[in-house]
Amino acid sequence: MTIAEYNKSVDDFSDGLYRFILKNVKDEEKAKDIIQDTYEKLWIKISNVSYEKVKSYLFTAAYHTMIDLIRKEKRQENMEKINTEIYSHTKQYTDISEILEEAVNKLPEDQRSVILLRDYEGYSYDEIADITGLNESQVKVYIYRGRMFLKKYIGSIETVI
């Protein structure tokens, strides 16, 4: 990959990458640090990564950097466990997107990541598997579980409203 292609990858993919990481870590500074680290890694491997593969490389590197960060900060939750308390809510909502936003924030890390990759970037199951290091079946399971949780969350709030 040339320097021009590297810089183009900054223009083309950094916004999407930033949105994906920010939605996961919910901290602008940390998200920016992760993007910085990710592009630093890309710069080091610039001769080994082709422009056609760079988007996937960036998301993979950013995802793993994010997971490392989360583990370091010991904030990783039990990936499988969904606390029933998270369905409780007292907030007033103006539209469905707010509810959905809140519901996504309550998803376990893995489920949130795969759903964001699916919805934000339109990745297929196998592409998500490559990025996250999970196998395709696991990705599918996380997406299905995540979707069911989101539906249940929205349904419970709609009932309240």
Partner: protein, 355 residues
């Protein structure tokens, strides 16, 4: 090691696991040779081998199931079918089955609709604001930038030299620079002598008489043009500058074009083009000629405008001296720069450019 009929099994297992050392193994063999029935048992043990091989791998794909393998949609699997529907994982047949189920159980339609609302869309207003900090500059551009800085600094230094050494010291070369501090009403008359030597072609504009003097300009066309322009176009700044800078010598070449130049570019004094006169263009070119690398020279000449270098130099000079020197350009109708002027509170320099 004391092997007996009570504990021999443990020794045999350790032997088969390779945990006995050669001495222990020899002792075990000796014990078995003394107990033929146990030796027979040992041989049976040895023939049992566990295959940890590849043949034992399962064909996972055969075990996997699809939605079409589910005989009927019910309460338990309805959610899964809904997700699969919106994820695009159902085939046409399964989609039909789901539709039929919804027809049969209309109360489920609400749940089905909820699944359509759980898809996220990115917030495009969120953007990564520090793209420039992670972009990389190629060594060539870095080198070019360095050259730009160097040429800017050189231009600033040359400009400084011009300002320090030129006014009044070399009037043969540049006679237009007038420093306000040195100018009083009294020295106007003494300047006449100087002006005779420096080809004053028309009139001298003096403080407080700047408009009247124009009436005395021999060439009436020029006078008309200037007087027409002055009251209309004059801003307060222009008036102040004219009052501040005294005496102001207007050296006109009996041409209407020069009169235009004076008015439109706020040039206070004009003299015929002097070949020896210094100009920023010459400064920049002079510097560039010293650069040995012809390829870089060409790039700079082509890509970096001389005016950009001059402006950068002036900015640097202003920064260093906290002054407010301004570079103004006179542009002709066809877009070409025909003259420039350097203006500040204390001096004003102007020059037409070579065609």
């Amino acid at each position: 090691m004391n092997i007996t009929r009570e504990n021999y099994e443990a020794y045999i297992i350790d032997y088969l696991d390779g945990k006995l050392n050669p001495v222990q193994s020899a002792e075990l063999m000796h014990f078995l040779s003394q107990n033929p029935d146990l030796e027979e048992e040992f041989n049976e043990f040895e023939s049992i081998k566990i295959n940890s091989s590849k043949e034992m791998k399962l064909n996972k794909e055969e075990l996997k199931r699809d939605f079409s393998d589910i005989k009927q949609i019910n309460d338990e699997n309805f959610d899964e079918f809904c997700v699969a529907n919106f994820e695009g994982d159902l085939n046409n047949q399964d989609e039909c089955r789901l539709k039929e189920y919804l027809k049969k159980y209309p109360e489920k339609q609400k749940d089905f609709d909820l699944y359509s609302k759980i898809y996220l869309s990115p917030d495009y207003s969120i953007k990564y604001s520090e793209k420039n900090s992670i972009k990389k500059i190629s060594p060539f551009i870095r080198r070019k930038n360095l050259l730009l800085y160097v040429t800017s600094a050189a231009a600033a230094i040359l400009l400084l030299i011009l300002i320090v050494y030129m006014p009044g010291k070399d009037r043969e070369g540049i006679s237009e620079i007038q420093v306000a501090d040195n100018i009083t009403e009294e020295n106007i008359s003494s300047q006449k002598e100087y002006e005779n030597n420096v080809e004053v072609t028309e009139k001298q504009i003096t403080k407080g008489k700047k408009y009247k003097v124009l009436e005395n300009i021999k060439n009436e066309k020029i006078a008309e043009k200037i007087s027409d322009n002055l009251p209309k176009d004059n801003t307060d700044d222009k008036r102040e500058a004219l009052e501040y800078l005294t005496p102001i010598s207007a050296q006109l070449n009996n041409t209407v074009e020069y009169a235009d130049l004076i008015m439109n570019t706020e040039i206070k004094t004009i003299k015929s083009v002097d070949k020896n006169k210094y100009a920023l263009k010459e400064f920049a070119n002079q510097y560039l000629e010293n650069i040995n690398d012809h390829s870089i020279h060409e790039i700079i000449l082509n890509k970096i405008n001389v005016w950009a270098i001059a402006e950068a130099g002036i900015k640097s000079f202003n920064y260093l001296t906290e002054s407010e020197v301004m570079l103004k350009k006179q542009v002709s109708s066809d877009g070409a720069i025909v003259a420039f002027a350097l203006n500040s509170e204390s001096f004003s320099i102007s020059s037409p450019l070579k065609k």
